[in-house]
């Protein structure tokens, strides 16, 4: 992997730091007029998720990390691993529970997810921004109540619990924003 100097640090660049892959979020050049230059770099450890700031001397270098984001189709889980497939090559990757942890409430078979590979192994999985999931349990729908603005909890096929309007019933398919966990509307009616 190539080395990157502080002046190449840009948001999105993946580098190795203390043995872990990290993503650069922000890089600020700091220099007293007559003094030496520094780069105050905000980064995220891609393994632990920790976000913090580290100061480098300008001109220091870090090794690039073999990290790639790929769109893949979610296939199935055997309870221990979750299987994803690259659409062009049909190559399959198995992700462990830690990698899918954040995506789990939204993971539906055949949906396309963003899988981050580190040295070829899934490090994390991001679900699509919007998913369509069926309600498997909620209080009975109040027919025609589309105006009162009230809501109630609904459990979806994945186990996620989302607040939905009162008129929805079990068996209906809804659209959810996975970034906020908020109900967006009935499926196909966006």
């Amino acid at each position: 992997m190539a080395n990157h100097s502080t002046n190449e640090f840009r948001s999105g660049l993946k580098v190795m730091l203390d043995g872990d892959p990290c993503s650069i979020l922000d890089n600020e050049f700091v220099k007293p007029g007559k003094g030496q230059a520094f780069n105050r770099v905000k980064m995220r450890n891609l393994k632990s998720g920790r976000v913090w700031e580290r100061t480098f001397k300008s001109g220091e270098t870090l090794e690039g990390a073999d990290v790639m984001d790929r769109s893949m189709e979610y296939l199935y889980t055997d309870g221990e691993f979750w299987y994803f497939m690259e659409p062009d090559t049909y190559e399959q990757h198995q992700a462990d529970a830690k990698a899918v942890e954040d995506a789990l409430p939204w993971l539906k078979e055949q949906d396309t997810c963003e899988v981050t590979l580190y040295n070829g192994t899934p490090l994390s999985v991001a679900p699509p921004n919007f998913v369509e999931l069926e309600i498997i349990e909620t209080d009975p729908g109040l027919k025609g109540d589309t105006a009162s603005g009230g809501n109630k909890p609904a459990t979806l096929t994945t186990g996620a619990i989302v607040k939905v309007p009162l008129f929805l019933s079990q068996g209906e398919v809804i659209r959810v924003d996975t970034r906020t966990g908020e109900y967006q509307g009935r499926a196909g009616k966006s």
């Binding site: 050049f29 700091v30 220099k31 030496q36 520094f38 100061t55 480098f56």
Partner: protein, 313 residues
């Protein structure tokens, strides 16, 4: 292709008005406006300041400030002078830095640094309408904010103060590196609430082109910096006039360049000859006009006050 300016038109009008205010300020004080070359055969030797070199024979450098040429004018008997020019510093790009920027530099024969600080404060009042200011020595500032004496603390003490609140990727035996780190990361944020504030009397190792003196029982460089709301705006000196001393400092710079793996630079013999022939006792200061405009307009990023910043040209 994004061809549009990064600054809004009202900002550019404010810039023009600011330049007019500055020229009025000096006209009223009969300080002569001068112009000196931007492309010179020599450049600063300071290791922390990088120049752009222009290919050709002989090689020339875009000036990082017009200081050397202006001092030659002073030595030739110009009297008080000011200049508004572009200055260039390689690699300095960020929210407060653009590699090409506008600099106001002026020199006052017979002024010491205290008199010049007063005049800088008057200019700030003329441009920003903020007449109240404070002064604090570099030593007192470190004592107040970090409870450490920057003149006597050793590297391990400075490192441990830094380590208490910062995650630092490097180690170093260079005291000045740690002082610069503490200043830029921990002291500058504390200067925000001090408004218009002068910091003066720097450690001798950071005197640059300022003369040395004694204060509070230690040797200090008679250098000052102006901060406005935590942003460094100007750097000034009670100027060193001793040619021999100056040659020594340039040579020291080159030694540090060598240690840092930077190219050695020839000394500016024309400047040294001018000092030899006699630079009048004077003080001088350089003030970043883009940053002054940022203060005036309350902009947080230098790109908002430049018609076309580094990424647009």
């Amino acid at each position: 292709m994004d061809w549009r300016p990064g600054a809004e038109m009202p900002t550019l009008r404010a810039r023009a008005a600011l330049l007019a205010t500055v020229r009025e300020f000096f006209a009223a004080r009969t300080v002569l406006e001068v112009e000196t070359p931007l492309l010179c055969c020599d450049t600063v030797t300071e290791p922390a300041v990088a120049s752009y070199a222009i290919t050709g024979e002989p090689r020339r450098f875009l000036q990082t400030s017009p200081e050397y040429a202006m001092k030659r004018l002073l030595a030739a008997g110009s009297g008080p002078i000011f200049q508004i020019s572009r200055a260039f510093r390689a690699g300095e790009a960020g929210p407060r830095h653009n590699p090409e920027f506008s600099l106001l530099e002026w020199y006052r024969p017979e002024f010491d640094h205290n008199q010049l600080m007063s005049e800088v404060a008057e200019l700030v009042t003329a441009c920003l309408g903020r007449p109240s200011y404070s002064k604090i020595s570099y030593r007192e500032l470190f004592r107040e904010v970090l409870n450490i004496d920057p003149f006597t603390a050793d590297v391990s003490q400075l490192r441990s103060v830094a380590g208490n609140s910062l995650d630092v990727s490097f180690d170093s035996a260079d005291r000045d590196l740690w002082l610069d780190l503490l200043l830029s990361h921990l002291i500058e944020p504390a200067l925000v609430e001090r408004g218009v504030c002068f910091v003066y009397d720097y450690p001798p190792s950071q005197a640059a082109l300022a003369r040395l003196g004694y204060s509070d029982g230690v040797e200090v460089g008679h250098r000052f910096e102006l901060y406005v709301d935590g942003m460094e705006l100007a750097n000034g000196y009670f100027e060193l006039t001793d040619a021999r001393q100056q040659r020594l400092r340039f040579s020291e710079d080159n030694k540090r360049r060598l240690q840092a793996g930077l190219p050695i630079l020839p000394l500016d013999e024309r400047l040294l000859s001018a000092l030899q022939s006699g630079l009048p006792e004077c003080s001088g200061v350089a003030l970043g006009l883009d940053r002054l405009l940022m203060c005036q307009l309350g902009k947080a990023d230098i790109r908002e006050v430049l018609a076309f910043d580094w990424t647009r040209c």
